[in-house]
């Protein structure tokens, strides 16, 4: 960080408050903590967790300070956008600049990540208490936190990409944390490679952007790539297929985002990622990392929406919307037929991410981000609840072997219920309702067709359904698991309670009556007034979604409510519609499809390459080798018979000469000194002669 | 009036010098000062011997010399006469020349040290720009005379004593120098006169003596230790440890030469404590602004005598170190501490005025001293003396 600091002093454009200047500390602290923890010995558990939590807590404080700064600026009516940029290295003449930014988007995200992260850290101390690699776990966790925070504050696409990849790495490490489990190792690899596919496109987009605008900074006093003139330039330059460069780059970046936050073609890794420890699933695969994709899109929203007319849309946004919507429905469908408690949540996460993307595409940054924030809380809540359930049922993950936990673990039940209601969007009282409602509303008003709207409504229905199913499987009926279920320790339930509170409370910030969040992100003063409800169709819409959700609950309860089916017997829905069920429970064969196409192709290609190696190249090498062997034999023959003789003679001569010379070396110091002195005399004499003559 | 009293010796000198032709005047001036010095310090030496003998006597529940003159004041006179009239024995096997030269060299060298000490306002023989360096250079050459004495008398006790003395002086010369370098760093001059003047100023009537600063105090402690070792005073008097080697390097000396050695040793004490006074205790400056009316030289000499008395006191109090303890102490404790002190002095210089630097410097010094002292004690390197062979 040192040279960063200096660079900042020299950087000509630094407009930042004190917090803006030290913003880099927020990601730095956890990373440093990770570094220290990495050096700790295994038994130093207390110290390790203490370091991780402490550093993240400090980051949280700093984030709050940053948030306050932004809030103050916003309250006083001028948009806060503080950037600190500095040249990192120079290609030819154009410097590659890094930098960080403090604006409402970043501030909100910072607070969310640090806060949820902190809770999850605390939770993990309880959840991982019996793991012998406790310290390693916390090292990875806080490395992840640091990287994620880096993504959040990055003001340069390059810096963002670095942290982005770091996040990918840590996610790989954490998914494969129990690497002795083959499934975990496989899942880790899968996650890593799948996200890589997206990242390739992302990188292409970055390079292209750099080629187009000559900078990777988002905002830089008008010279950044997200600022009007750069955008105009990109809009002007065509990229074939009737796309402007802006659109193309936007799509490429979106590919990266899709990979990270499991959008449709690249969603396969996310469910498998549930092999990792549950806190990891909660932190990475529900709250933060998967949200990184959404955040990225929000960050580059100006690019996405470049050249949009009021009320209109752009190609990029359309793509985002459709992919988001279809992901939402698709994943929700699959979630219906899963039996692993965490997989259900995973698919629900995927579908919720779809919602966010759709929200971004339809209603802009505010809508998507609001759902992101609320979702982060209640999904983290759900995952940690699931973790607590698994913990309580002795590492049992199959919902069919649970049930009736309502009695055994009341705290978890309460928290889980809150999370479930929030996720399904139970009217009025839960944040999920408002955030989802905002998305639906913007979908309803979308000019380019009603398709997404209906898909999203259907998604909501499914969400309600599968959550009901899960609830009744897990908490109702009577206990079908082995052993004896027990409530989790306080250190695990406390975070649940806190998260539950926020899962409810956050909704206040986004009601149409007081759209604080939206106006905060879009730098408009927020007003309180029920006038917000008077928008045409809004109330109707709310009623519709309520009704839909109610239907979902109803059907779910009708099918699964309070009955405790044995693991052996077939699922209720399966009885109803077997073929669909099989399709769904096999995750619509996406993995199989990939296996049959891409992976098979890779196998074939590998075999071809292998054959080439063995036959063609190998043969060539062998031939060369053989030739040299022959040559060497020939040389040896020459040496032995001709060269050596000559050498021996020479050596004898030399040794005789040496003997003669050795006489001079009497080994007496004074002899040498004498020679030295003589030499001095001679030299001096010569000098004088020359100087006189 | 006070001024004339203060400058009385200077005025006297000028008055006498005025009687000589211009060409000779500088020479005469120097000669006068030299004579004054050579007259003063042996007198002090005589006085000191009495003080020492009586003081030590009291410390050991004896009365000490009390026959010659009132309270034995005239004891030194008696001693002098005795040593002058004694036969001067030179061992047959001894190396006559060296044996003869050694004491002379010692005395001369020791007296030379006084040339740069300012014994009062304008009362120094020469104000050398490199006064301190001169002082140490001269002091360094005293070692050689001791070696000569020890080696020339062809006596194993003498040789051992000389070797011990030389080794000890060499090892303690380093910390001695180092502890004074801090002063030089702060004053920015090697000239003792300048150093005294730098200390001769007062705030709220209190003097700016260097001993009243953290680093100064630390340096003073180190200086005292090193000085005592340098002058072979107990507890560092191994070279003449009566119990081990009869009288160290001057075992084979008798009569006047012995007296010369004695003189040399004490005058060495005077010069080194004079240096200490000059460097740390503000030389001839008065301890309080109000006391400035008293002549400066009184202050100087009283300070010197005071430190001499302290030395005697210590001699009466502390037991003798063992050789290895001595060396370890020098190289493993005193030297590092003086080095640290240099650092602290630099800090002091650059932290500028204010209470802060007091806190910081004292904190550093105290902390390190405590820590190092503790660890050393624990490692029994310079721990309390262990009577390994006496039990």
């Amino acid at each position: 960080m040192q040279e960063m600091q200096e660079a900042i002093q020299f950087s000509p454009y630094t407009v930042a408050s004190w917090i803006g200047r030290i913003l880099w500390l927020i990601p730095a602290l956890p990373i440093v903590a990770a570094g220290i923890i990495a050096l700790l010995k295994q038994p130093k558990r207390k110290l390790a967790s203490g370091l991780a939590i402490g550093s993240l807590f400090l980051s949280l404080l700093l984030s709050l300070a940053a948030f306050a700064e932004v809030l103050a600026g916003w309250a006083s009516g001028h948009a806060v956008r503080e950037t600190v940029n500095f040249a990192w290295l120079t290609f030819g003449t154009t410097p590659v600049e890094l930098g960080w930014i403090l604006d409402p988007l970043a501030a909100v995200m910072l607070v969310m990540v640090t806060f949820v992260g902190l809770l999850i850290f605390i939770y993990s101390t309880g959840y991982m208490a019996h793991d012998e690699n406790f310290t390693r776990f916390f090292c990875f966790l806080s490395l992840f936190a640091g990287a994620m925070l880096g993504v959040v504050i990055a003001n340069s696409l390059l810096l963002l990409f670095m942290c982005w990849e770091l996040v990918g790495l840590t996610s790989y490490l954490l998914i494969g944390f129990w690497y002795q489990k083959p499934s975990a190792a496989a899942a880790a690899k899968k996650a890593f490679l799948t996200t890589r596919v997206g990242d390739i496109f992302f990188l292409l987009g970055i390079v292209w952007l750099f080629a187009q605008t000559g900078t990777l900074l988002f905002y830089n006093q008008g010279a950044g790539s997200m600022e009007p003139d750069a955008l105009a330039g990109m809009l002007a330059s065509p990229a074939g297929l009737g796309l402007s460069a802006a659109t193309a780059i936007g799509l490429l970046i979106f590919a990266g985002a899709a990979g990270k936050s499991g959008q449709l073609p690249l969603h396969v890794w996310l469910p498998d990622a549930m092999e990792g420890p549950t806190p990891v699933s909660a932190l990475i695969h529900a709250a933060t990392m998967v949200a990184a994709g959404v955040y990225l899109i929000a960050r580059v929203y100006p690019l996405m929406a470049a050249g949009v007319q009021p009320g209109g849309t752009t190609t990029a946004l359309t793509v985002v919307t459709w992919i988001g919507a279809s992901t939402a429905v698709f994943a929700a469908l699959i979630a219906v037929a899963q039996n692993d408690i965490k997989r259900i949540l995973a698919y629900s996460t995927v579908s919720q991410l779809g919602y966010m993307m759709a929200g971004l595409g339809l209603g802009g940054v505010a809508v998507g981000m609001f759902h992101l924030i609320t979702h982060a809380f209640f999904k983290a809540l759900l995952f940690m609840g699931a973790g607590s359930v698994i913990h309580g049922c002795h590492e049992e993950q199959d919902v069919r072997h649970m049930g009736g936990l309502r009695k055994y673990m009341p705290w978890t039940y309460g928290a889980y219920l809150v999370g479930m209601l929030a996720l399904t969007g139970f009217p009025i009282f839960f944040s999920g309702f408002w955030s989802k409602d905002a998305i639906l509303e913007s979908a309803h008003h979308w000019k380019a067709g009603q398709g997404p709207f209906f898909m999203l409504v259907f998604g909501a229905l499914l969400t309600a359904f599968y959550m009901t199913r899960q609830m009744s499987y897990v908490f109702f009926g009577e206990y079908r698991g082995h052993g004896h279920a027990h409530e989790s320790p306080r250190v695990m339930t406390m975070p649940l309670a806190i998260l539950a509170f926020f899962a409810v409370a956050l909704g206040v910030l986004g009601t149409p009556a007081w759209p604080w969040f939206r106006s905060f992100l879009t730098d408009r003063p927020s007003t309180f007034g029920l006038a917000g409800f008077n928008e045409p169709g809004l109330v109707v819409l709310m009623l519709t979604s309520t009704a839909v959700v109610a239907i979902g609950y109803g059907v779910g309860w009708a099918l699964y409510g309070n009955r405790s089916p044995q693991a052996s017997e077939r699922d209720a829905l399966e009885k109803a519609i077997p073929p669909v069920w099989t399709a769904l429970s096999n995750r619509l064969y996406v993995d199989e499809f990939y296996g049959a196409t891409f992976i098979a192709f890779y196998y074939w290609w590998a075999r071809v390459a292998d054959w080439f190696d063995r036959r063609v190249w190998g043969g060539a090498v062998a031939a060369v080798m053989w030739f040299f062997g022959l040559w060497a034999r020939f040389n040896r023959f020459l040496d032995e018979n001709f060269v050596n003789g000559g050498f021996d003679k020479g050596c004898e001569e030399l040794s005789v000469g040496g003997g003669l010379l050795a006489r001079v070396q009497s080994g007496r110091v004074q002899t040498y000194l004498r020679l030295l002195a003589l030499a001095v005399v001679v030299l001096a004499a010569i000098l004088i002669w020359s100087s006189r003559g | 009036m006070a001024n004339t009293l203060d400058q009385i010796f200077v005025l006297l000198k000028h008055w006498i010098v005025a009687y000589f032709p211009l060409a000779l005047q500088p020479v005469v001036g120097i000669l006068l000062s030299v004579v004054a010095i050579i007259a003063t310090f042996p007198a002090l030496f005589a006085l000191t011997t009495v003080i020492e003998r009586k003081g030590l006597g009291r410390m050991q529940n004896r009365i000490g010399p009390n026959r010659t003159g009132p309270f034995g004041i005239l004891q030194p006179v008696a001693d002098g006469i005795k040593s002058l009239t004694k036969e001067d024995i030179v061992p047959r096997s001894a190396d006559a020349v060296v044996h003869f030269v050694a004491p002379l060299v010692l005395v001369v060298v020791v007296f030379m040290g006084f040339a740069v000490l300012p014994m009062g306002r304008n009362m120094q023989l020469v104000d050398m720009d490199a006064g301190l360096l001169y002082f140490f250079a001269i002091g360094a050459s005293a070692e050689l005379s001791i070696f000569m004495a020890g080696w020339s008398s062809r006596n194993k006790y003498s040789l051992l004593g000389a070797m011990r003395a030389v080794a000890q002086m060499i090892s303690y010369e380093v910390p001695l120098l180092m502890s004074t370098v801090a002063i030089v760093m702060i004053t920015g001059s090697l000239s003792l006169v300048k150093i005294v003047e730098a200390q001769n100023q007062y705030t709220w009537g209190l003097p700016h003596w260097y001993i009243f600063t953290p680093w100064g105090f630390a340096a003073f402690i180190m200086f005292c230790i090193a000085a005592m070792a340098e002058t072979n005073r107990s507890p560092f008097d191994l070279p003449e440890g009566e119990s081990e080697l009869v009288a160290g390097y001057f075992t084979e000396y008798s009569g006047f030469k012995f007296a010369l050695f004695f003189l040399g040793e004490y005058v060495g004490m005077f010069s080194i404590s004079g240096l200490g006074t000059t460097l740390f205790l503000g030389g001839w400056s008065a301890p309080l602004a109000v006391l400035n009316f008293m002549p400066s030289w009184i202050w100087f000499f009283s300070k010197v005598m005071l430190s001499i008395v302290v030395m005697i006191w210590i001699r009466g109090t502390l037991p003798r170190l063992r050789q290895d303890q001595l060396m370890n102490f020098a190289w493993k404790f005193v030297l590092p501490m003086t080095l640290l002190n240099l650092f602290v002095a630099g800090l002091w210089r650059f932290m500028g005025e204010g209470i802060l630097r007091w806190l910081v410097c004292s904190a550093i010094l105290l902390g390190v001293y405590v820590i190092v002292g503790r660890t050393e004690m624990r490692r029994r390197k310079i721990g309390p003396r262990s009577y390994r062979y006496a039990e």
């Binding site: 010379l661 050795a662 006489r663 001079v664 070396q665 009497s666 080994g667 007496r668 110091v669 004074q670 000194l673 004498r674 002195a677 | -």
Partner: protein, 103 residues
Amino acid sequence: MTPLAGYLLVAALVFAIGLAGALTRRNAILVLIGIELMLNAANLNLIAFWRYSPHPEVLTGMMFAVFSIAVAAAEAAVGLGLVIALYRHAHTTDLDEINRMKG
């Protein structure tokens, strides 16, 4: 004869004496002493030249002398250390007998 020439002559004489000592004595330590003398003669030269140089305030010669004094100290330390080590091996410091490096 200028004063500088006088100093130079003295220096040359001392140098020669040192050299003679180094060349003629058996005892290794005395050889070292001779070398020390030679070094000192060189120092005297430096100082003398500095003193009578057109710009003494530049201090070059004096600095040179000071540095060479320092170096000489190091040289003496190492040299005597070597002599002692040598003595411990060969039990003599007589250079005529120490010719193990003989070719």
